[in-house]
């Protein structure tokens, strides 16, 4: 009912109405405790002064509308305070300012009110967004508004959206032809909500159809089918993407190991903690930027990449120098020693940064996602991580196969004494190679910080999976690791679809075990005599 009044108001007043300060009396009830009265106030406000209302409502939606004694104020940047009624800045800022908290219901009302208002904004982008929002909850009450908006709207794309909204709104129309048009138009949509709107039209209540007109019923049927096709298609696409994303994460987690274990044959149980080091350096960079360059905060992640790499590499080098190099050729001892290191590193992290997780925010450009379809939204952070993992992969391949270091590494790992004889500084190469592996683990950590928690125990969650990827892929096989990671990712995701997360994980592990029994050398087996040892 409120909404109806609001919309009528807009329609009558249109958008061009007298510019005047808002009557403070209209604002006061916004701070009321009872949601109903607040919503009433919001509507009243829009009725009275649609233009001036916008900044106030926006402020309210963003929790920056406040009460200073009797007066409603807007909190601006850097502690500045404006009078909500006159928009004039108050100097000095009044004391005892109490923010006006709102709940979801109010927030929702605000959203649609703002959307309604913004439909008539001058900027296309705003209108485009608003048109999208009205699509979320278009109903009969909105019709007049939509008609009006359509009349005013020139932009084709926006019109399309508005028409979709109008179609939704006019499903309830008494005129069968209108309904028919509506149903046909909605056939173009691929929004599951629309499907829900159409479904009743094809259903019976008792003996008689909910939709009397048979033509409309038929049309609804076809529309529903076409929508459902798009939905199903989008579903599978989404599932494939989640698999890809999980795969890329497994890959990032495992790549470092693919070097330290795969190439050098070092069982590094502290691998998870190297990931942790990377993740914590992302956090550290974020804090540094927060403190010193708040302006560039969004770019802390770029700085975190080298830092994460170097710090993890440093830890890796230390590990290699202090412990691992004394254990070459004794893999089982290495395994135990590195496990010790991992316990050690965990506790270090705990004492330095506390046992609690630390907060690592996605930078603005990683937040949100691209909405390919109403039911298929690809989060930016995942897309970027997929890309990142590819980049790291390429870089690593290049280092191993093109650089001198890579050549030495391969030389040493294939025939240590011979490499030594031809003057390869085997000792240093080992250290560098391990550092490289550790550094790449650090990069993985930086990426993980964007999707998972950053805390002392985070590494433990990845150690088994990482080893599974490397072992499954075949030791010493970069390509193997890649395929294994992707395979595991996609397989797990499709399995999870119908078995649930717990069972899926178990099944995958068991399958890996069985697989290794069949092919101990992993997907990409090396044959020949040198495998025997």
């Amino acid at each position: 009912m409120h909404k109806l009044r609001l919309l009528l108001a807009i329609c009558l007043l249109g958008i061009s109405c007298a510019q005047a300060a808002i009557d403070p009396e209209l604002l006061k009830p916004l701070a009321d405790d009872d949601s109903d009265r607040r919503i009433a106030a919001i509507l009243a406000l829009v009725e009275a002064a649609p233009e001036e209302a916008q900044p106030v409502l926006k402020a309210m939606a963003e929790d920056s509308l406040a009460l200073a004694g009797e007066r409603v104020v807007i909190l601006g940047e850097g502690g500045r305070v404006f009078d909500a009624a006159s928009k004039r800045e108050l100097t000095p800022p009044p004391a005892g300012v109490e923010t006006i908290g709102i709940n979801n219901r109010v927030r929702r009302e605000l959203a649609s009110a703002l959307a309604a208002l913004r439909l008539f904004s001058a900027e296309r982008a705003v209108r485009w967004q608003a048109a999208q929002e009205v699509n979320q909850n278009a109903d009969a009450k909105m019709l007049p508004l939509l008609e009006r908006a359509l009349a005013a709207e020139q932009d084709a794309a926006i019109r399309a959206r508005l028409q979709l909204a109008r179609a939704q709104a006019s499903l309830g129309s008494s005129d069968a032809d209108v309904r028919l048009d509506a149903v046909r138009t909605l056939g173009e949509s691929s929004d599951p909500r629309v499907r829900q709107l159409l479904l009743p039209l094809t259903q019976k209540q008792g003996d008689d159809w909910l939709e009397p007109d048979s033509a409309v019923r038929a049309a609804a049927g076809t529309s529903i089918r076409s929508i459902e096709q798009r939905l199903a298609w989008a579903d599978n696409l989404g599932r494939a993407f989640t698999g890809l994303s999980l795969g890329s994460i497994l890959l990032l987690a495992a790549l470092g190991l693919a070097i330290t274990y795969g190439v050098m044959g070092v069982i590094n149980m502290a691998h998870g903690e190297l990931l942790m080091v990377g993740a914590y350096s992302a956090w550290a960079m974020q804090s540094v930027f927060r403190a010193h360059l708040p302006g560039a905060l969004d770019w802390y992640l770029l700085a975190a990449i080298p830092v994460g790499f170097l710090s993890a590499a440093l830890v890796g080098v230390l590990m290699e120098r202090i412990v691992i190099r004394h254990l070459y050729g004794r893999p089982l001892e290495t395994l135990l020693a590195t496990w010790g290191i991992s316990l050690f590193l965990m506790q270090v992290a705990r004492t330095l940064f506390g046992a609690q997780n630390v907060e690592v925010a996605n930078p603005g450009w990683m937040a949100g996602g691209v909405e390919l379809l109403p039911n298929l939204l690809l989060p930016w952070n995942r897309i970027i991580i997929v890309a990142f993992s590819i980049a790291v992969l390429v870089a690593m391949w290049a280092i191993l196969n093109l650089s001198r270091l890579g050549m030495f590494v391969r030389a040493v790992t294939q025939n240590r004494p011979m490499a030594g004889c031809v003057g390869v500084p085997t000792g240093r190469i080992d250290t560098l190679a391990f550092g490289l592996g550790a550094g790449i683990a650090g990069l993985g950590g930086v990426a993980l910080s964007q999707i998972a928690n950053v805390g002392p125990d985070m590494g433990q969650g990845y150690i088994v999976d990482s080893f599974m990827v490397v072992v499954l892929g075949g030791v010493g096989q970069l390509a193997g690791a890649v395929w294994a990671a992707l395979g595991l990712g996609v397989f797990t995701k499709f399995l999870e679809g119908w078995t649930g997360a717990v069972v899926a994980k178990i099944v995958v592990l068991v399958l890996i075990i069985v697989f290794i029994q069949k092919r101990p050398q992993g997907l990409f087996a090396l044959k020949g005599r040198f495998v025997e040892s």
Binding site: L327, G340, L345, F467, P520
Partner: protein, 391 residues
């Protein structure tokens, strides 16, 4: 001309596998566990300076079980050269097997006064799932403890060893195995109490489980089990079987080319080791009063390895010493410097592997050798160390 087995009766030969010192030591130990402890715990008043508290008994009892596990681990790692990171699984399975019996013994005293264990009531299960059938009988429980883990170990081991999975590969696979099992047992539908596992046991064979007498008996059983394990292990490593086992550890291909099939030797010791773990687990549960999936966590299994490494692998007394050292250290550290416990454990792992290749026993032998100024050099191989050590 095949050597005729058991010309001298087996039992005699079994006994003969401890030398005099071995028997003296174990006799001493048995006397302590079977006589001293009960007296000091039951007879002496609580304020008597020599009174042993329940805390002491449960703590040591627990460590005795760990010691059995350590010896079992040593059999396959120290002598077989196979590092299993999945022994926590067999330990836990043994615990669960016996835990099922203890759960049934609670009877209607559970908080739901039902014949079913509480967790089943709250899952709305109306009757026992098939794998719980018979779990109310003590003998069946014992059977479960002995057979189930052994069976799993046998099947897993058969395939793993047949496809010649060795060294680190094997370690990682066993790790995956126990990890998967842990996830499985965490599930509530699996029917083993999910994350909470089994706890709040009431009685065992009708005796109240918290009664001092029961504790003492369990303690004594653990002690005897440990002695038995050591005796058996000692016999094995001194038998030709043991020599073949160490031969496989050192030069598997050679063993094959002189006509032994390593598969069955590995499989035998692997399965036996799993059974020993299971027995330890079964003794452990009634003493600590809880069994839950975290026993199968990756970390636990690796910790077992470190007991062995610290004590001295390839020796039999070593693992026992290791188990006691590490766990006593744990009990002490977690009280006195809670924050530093992991630092200590971590360092222990590193130091033990870097500087104590044969563990404290090896160290001791080396020192003793140095004192005598001959014999066992630093590089003394484990087998030789083993020969140097008693039970």
């Amino acid at each position: 001309m095949r050597p005729s087995p058991a010309r001298t009766p087996f039992i005699v030969r079994l006994g003969a596998s401890f030398d005099a010192r071995g028997w003296r030591l174990s006799g001493l130990f048995a006397a302590f566990a079977l006589i001293a402890v009960p007296v000091m715990h039951l007879a002496l008043p609580a304020d008597h300076p020599l009174h042993l508290s329940t805390w002491f008994i449960t703590l040591v009892g627990k460590i005795l079980c760990y010691a059995i596990v350590a010896v079992a681990m040593d059999l396959i790692w120290g002598y077989g050269g196979i590092l299993s990171l999945g022994h926590g699984l067999f330990f836990a399975l043994g615990g669960y097997g016996f835990g099922m019996y203890l759960m049934r013994q609670i009877g209607r005293d559970g908080s739901y006064q039902s014949d079913l264990p509480d967790f089943m009531v709250f899952l709305d299960w109306k009757e026992l799932p098939w794998f719980w059938v018979g779990s109310d009988s003590f003998l069946w429980a014992v059977l479960l403890v002995l057979v189930v883990p052994a069976l799993i170990a046998f099947v897993f081991g058969y395939f793993a060893f047949r496809s010649r999975i060795k060294g680190v590969y094997f370690s990682i696979i066993t790790q995956a195995l126990t990890y998967a099992a842990m996830l499985l047992f965490f599930r509530n539908e699996t029917g083993f109490g999910g994350n909470n596992g089994f706890t709040d046991f009431k009685r065992i064979l009708g005796h109240p489980i918290t009664a001092p007498e029961t504790r003492v008996v369990l303690f004594a059983l653990s002690a005897l089990a440990l002695i038995g394990t050591l005796l058996l292990a000692r016999y094995l490593v001194r038998s030709k079987f043991g020599r073949v086992l160490t031969a496989i550890r050192d030069a598997e291909s050679r063993v094959m080319f002189i006509g032994y099939n390593p598969l069955w030797y590995k499989l035998f010791v692997w399965t036996l080791s799993a059974m020993l773990c299971a027995v330890a687990g079964a003794l452990y549960v009634p003493q600590v009063g809880i069994i839950n999936p975290s026993e199968m966590s990756v970390g636990n299994s690796i910790e077992i390895a470190i007991w062995v490494a610290v004590g001295g692998r390839g020796t039999l007394i070593g693992p026992v010493i290791g188990a006691f050292l590490v766990n006593l250290a744990k009990s002490w550290f977690t009280v006195s410097f809670p924050e530093y416990w992991l630092f200590f454990l971590g360092t222990l792992f590193i130091v033990a592997t870097l500087y104590l290749p044969q563990g404290v026993v090896g160290l001791w032998l080396r020192l003793r050798a140095r004192r005598r100024g001959k014999g066992a050099a630093a590089g003394e191989p484990p087998a030789a160390v083993a020969k140097g050590v008693g039970a």
